[in-house]
């Protein structure tokens, strides 16, 4: 599990305190009721805005208390009323009109940000969206725009249908990202847009078509940390695909790569995290982006951070006096972006991570650090990255083979969960085969193979052969082929037999996949035919 430290700024701490104290006891009571809903909300790529943005006047004034045990009916009634008042305030004229509008907006905003499960559905049913769109009109005061955008942000953080209901508001939200807007307004609008983008590919393409990419990229250059961070997060949601178009467009914008580099250099770890996510998606989807990134200082920056991160353990609970600070920097963001870069462009392994360069040693060390951690995610994704380096040159294979990674990988192959075992298998197998382009039986690096088999890896591979997952079974069979063909003195088949390898291969006789059947049968026929055992 992952322990990550988070650095708070004061207002955030305060709101979290407020959340925590009043929430903790009441939360237990309502745990079951909201459990499922809450869990689903947690898993989404959308974020509810609970506290005023840093730097806003609200931050100084608000002492928001989480409303937990509002009965649902009561909450719904209040929400409906708030929307009604929203409507009537629009038509108010005269002196107190502006003040009135802010009041009603604030009332709705509080309901949407302080309830544990915001009454989004009710608000939409009552007709909040078209009203909020009106409140977003050009020329409105900053305060008004801020409150309206905040309401929309939290509506957009709901269920898919609820997010989609924001469609009429999109053009205005995007417009208010512009450089003429106040930073706070732009930031809040970016947040709302980030939530919409997090919903799905359809909404993403709508946002792109309406021109959301460019202003968000500009915001990522902001000097204000929280603005840059929110913009980066929104961008990561916007470009995550599966269509690579957005990623390609983003990297083509002048200054974006620079902005990424600069933000990664900064001490602000929350910001660096979100920017690293942009790198993750750029490197996963855009070859152009990957190519540019691997030739920049980004890889070194990422590896440096990975190496420098203090601990990779699970978060410990907040102590009552809040003396514990946390870094919000996600280690595995870096790991993932590194993994994508290694996987995506040969230049990374061939030219950046050349054996002999210190960056290469650092990269391998940082991966080993992840392999040692308790975190499933870190172990899995580090093994994956390692396997791609092991697919590199002969020098790379020797490097990994000689490193601390070997016993770790062997251990993972034998004991870890399935998905990690598979990645470890890829790595170990890649170490045994000389890089070759053609499809002929690949040449085997015998001393690597011998060491790995003697180290007890066979049972792990044979377990993969037994797996219901075709890719893993194929992997296992291919490794057995290497062993039976390449282990010296023809001892391969015996070794395989000793570990019940034959039984595992024979399971394929009634397997529904013909290719697998043929593959397994071919091996048994070839290595355990009539002549087997006769000397």
């Amino acid at each position: 599990m992952l322990l990550v430290t988070i650095a708070f700024n004061l207002s955030l701490v305060r709101s979290l305190v407020a959340v925590h104290n009043s929430a903790s006891s009441r939360r237990r009571e309502h745990a079951i009721a909201v459990g499922k809903e809450r869990r689903e909300a947690l898993m989404r790529a959308k974020r509810v805005c609970r506290a005023p943005l840093s730097g806003s006047d609200e931050a100084a004034m608000e002492e928001g208390d989480m409303v937990i045990d509002e009965e649902k009916a009561n909450l719904e009634a209040r929400t409906t009323q708030a929307v009604e008042e929203l409507k009537s305030a629009l038509s108010t004229q005269g002196k107190g009109a502006q003040k009135k509008k802010i009041e009603v907006l604030r009332a709705l905003r509080r309901l949407l940000s302080q309830s544990e499960v915001p009454p989004v559905e009710t608000a939409i049913k009552a007709g909040a969206i078209p009203l909020l769109v009106q409140y977003l009109s050009f020329g409105s005061s900053d305060e008004q725009l801020l409150e309206a955008a905040w309401c929309l942000t939290n509506i957009a953080a709901g269920e898919p249908e609820e997010t989609k209901s924001l469609l009429p508001a999109l053009p205005l939200l995007i417009a208010h990202l512009g450089e003429k807007s106040s930073t706070l307004v732009a930031e809040q609008c970016a947040w709302a847009i980030g939530n919409v983008a997090g919903e799905g590919a359809d909404l993403r393409s709508k946002l792109l078509a309406q021109g959301a990419l460019w202003p968000l990229a500009r915001l990522m250059l902001s000097n204000k940390g929280s603005t840059a961070r929110t913009a980066a997060w929104a961008l990561s949601n916007l470009i995550k695909g599966p269509d690579p178009k957005a990623a390609n467009e983003l990297i083509s914008i002048d200054g974006v790569l620079n902005a990424i580099v600069r933000n990664l250099e900064k001490a602000d770890e929350e910001l660096a995290t979100e920017v690293a996510w942009v790198v993750v998606y750029l490197s996963a989807l855009s070859e152009k982006a990957t190519s540019l990134i691997v030739r920049s200082s980004v890889p070194q920056l990422l590896i440096g951070r990975l190496l420098a991160s203090e601990n990779l353990q699970l978060l410990i609970p907040v102590s009552s006096d809040f003396s514990i600070t946390y870094h919000s920097f996600c280690i595995f963001t870096v790991l993932r972006s590194l993994g994508n870069l290694v996987a995506g462009d040969a230049y990374m392994v061939d030219s950046v991570l050349t054996v002999g360069n210190s960056i290469t040693d650092q990269a391998v060390s940082s991966l080993i650090k992840c392999l040692k951690s308790d975190s499933r995610v870190l172990k899995k994704e580090a093994s994956w990255a390692m396997s791609n380096i092991a697919a590199g040159s002969f020098e790379h294979k020797k490097l990994i083979f000689a490193s601390e990674a070997m016993p770790l990988l062997m251990h993972l192959l034998a004991t870890a969960q399935f998905d990690i075992r598979r990645e470890a298998a890829y790595t170990l197998g890649n170490l045994c085969v000389v890089p070759t382009g053609n499809a002929a039986p690949p040449n085997i690096i015998v001393n690597h193979l011998v060491a790995i088999v003697n180290g007890g890896a066979l049972p792990g591979f044979i377990n993969l052969v037994r797996s219901a997952d075709i890719e893993s079974a194929r992997l296992g069979l291919q490794f057995l082929e290497l062993v039976m063909r390449g282990y010296p003195n023809g001892q391969g088949p015996q070794l395989v037999e000793r570990e019940d390898g034959i039984e595992a291969m024979e399971r394929f006789q009634f397997h529904e996949n013909e290719l697998m059947r043929n593959m397994a049968n071919g091996l048994v026929d070839k290595y355990f035919g009539e002549d087997y055992g006769l000397e």
Partner: protein, 298 residues
């Protein structure tokens, strides 16, 4: 290594050895929405929402379960099974429970109890052989639900190939692969005893159990040497068949001697009351075993 199983399969087909896919060390790229990344994405969201703090151990486990469940739909790949497994870890248990039916006579293992029972009838039941000898179609099609019965092993095999696209090399009942000890013994024995030895082998329960005898597929005729082996096996198989046929002749004559047309009881009952000298009761009925197929006069 390829990133998608379908691609992987294509690669395997294109590989030099027709059946053998070789290990290819290659970079594997993964799409951002690949289930591989699901766990990491979840971690990201939890941390970003500063809520990892708030989550109880229970909450966390639930979340991981939800995440795993959403990416994990495994179906048993054994032909005809289709069982849905909660996760990959469950497969081994499922396999051992459901697909390891073993023959108590010769220790061959079958993936379903139906196939096992077909095997037992065909290989160890003299009653079955007697019916075959009398011309009843006893050899069931192996594909569940087909229902066709053929008169000989070979015609059943042909049916499987013609109607169900089984590979030509498929052999439901393959001669057991002898253990190392047996093989060494056989090298020293004179060839005249080959047939007998083959039968011995089929009854041989190797203590280790590793060389067990559920090998169904004939070796491919890759090269001259192997085809010679095939010939040898054919020879042995023929010898086997001849042996069996002899046995059947003996059996049928014995049976015909025992039962006289008049005194065959209408109902065969257990116990001695009505047996009247009919001491031979087919083993399958005696043991109350349900035969794999009811003989139908066709």
């Amino acid at each position: 290594m390829q990133q998608r199983p379908e691609d992987a399969m294509e690669e395997v087909e294109a590989a030099a050895g027709p059946e053998l896919g070789f290990w290819l060390a290659a970079r594997r790229r993964l799409a951002p929405d690949d289930p591989f990344f699901a766990a990491g994405d979840l971690e990201r969201e939890l941390l970003a929402k500063h809520l990892a703090l708030d989550l109880s151990e229970d909450d966390r486990n639930q979340l991981e379960k939800m995440e795993v469940a959403s990416t994990c739909t495994v179906f048993c790949p054994i032909a005809g099974c289709g069982a849905h497994l909660g996760c990959l870890e469950d497969f081994e248990d499922h396999y051992v429970t459901r697909h390891s039916a073993s023959c108590s006579v010769c220790s061959r293992v079958y993936p379903t109890s139906r196939l096992l029972s077909i095997h037992v009838s065909e290989a160890h039941d003299s009653y079955f052989q007697a019916k075959v000898a009398r011309g009843f179609p006893m050899y069931e099609c192996l594909v569940e639900g087909c229902g066709v019965k053929l008169k000989s092993y070979k015609s059943r095999q042909q049916h499987l190939i013609d109607k169900h696209q089984f590979p030509k090399s498929f052999e439901f009942f393959k001669k057991a692969r002898p253990s190392q000890r047996q093989r060494q013994k056989s090298q020293r024995r004179p060839t005249a005893h080959k047939g007998e030895e083959a039968r011995d082998n089929s009854m041989d329960v190797d203590g280790k159990g590793t060389r067990q005898t559920n090998w169904k597929y004939r070796p491919k005729q890759h090269d001259h040497k192997e085809s010679k082996e095939n010939e040898r096996q054919h020879q042995e198989a023929k010898e086997n068949e001849m042996e069996v046929e002899q046995k059947i002749d003996e059996l049928t004559s014995a049976v015909s001697k025992l039962s006289t047309a008049d005194s065959t009881p209408a109902n065969v009952t257990f116990g001695h009351r009505r047996s009247r000298g009919l001491t031979f009761v087919p083993r399958s009925i005696r043991q109350n075993k349900q035969p794999a197929s009811q003989p139908e006069a066709k």
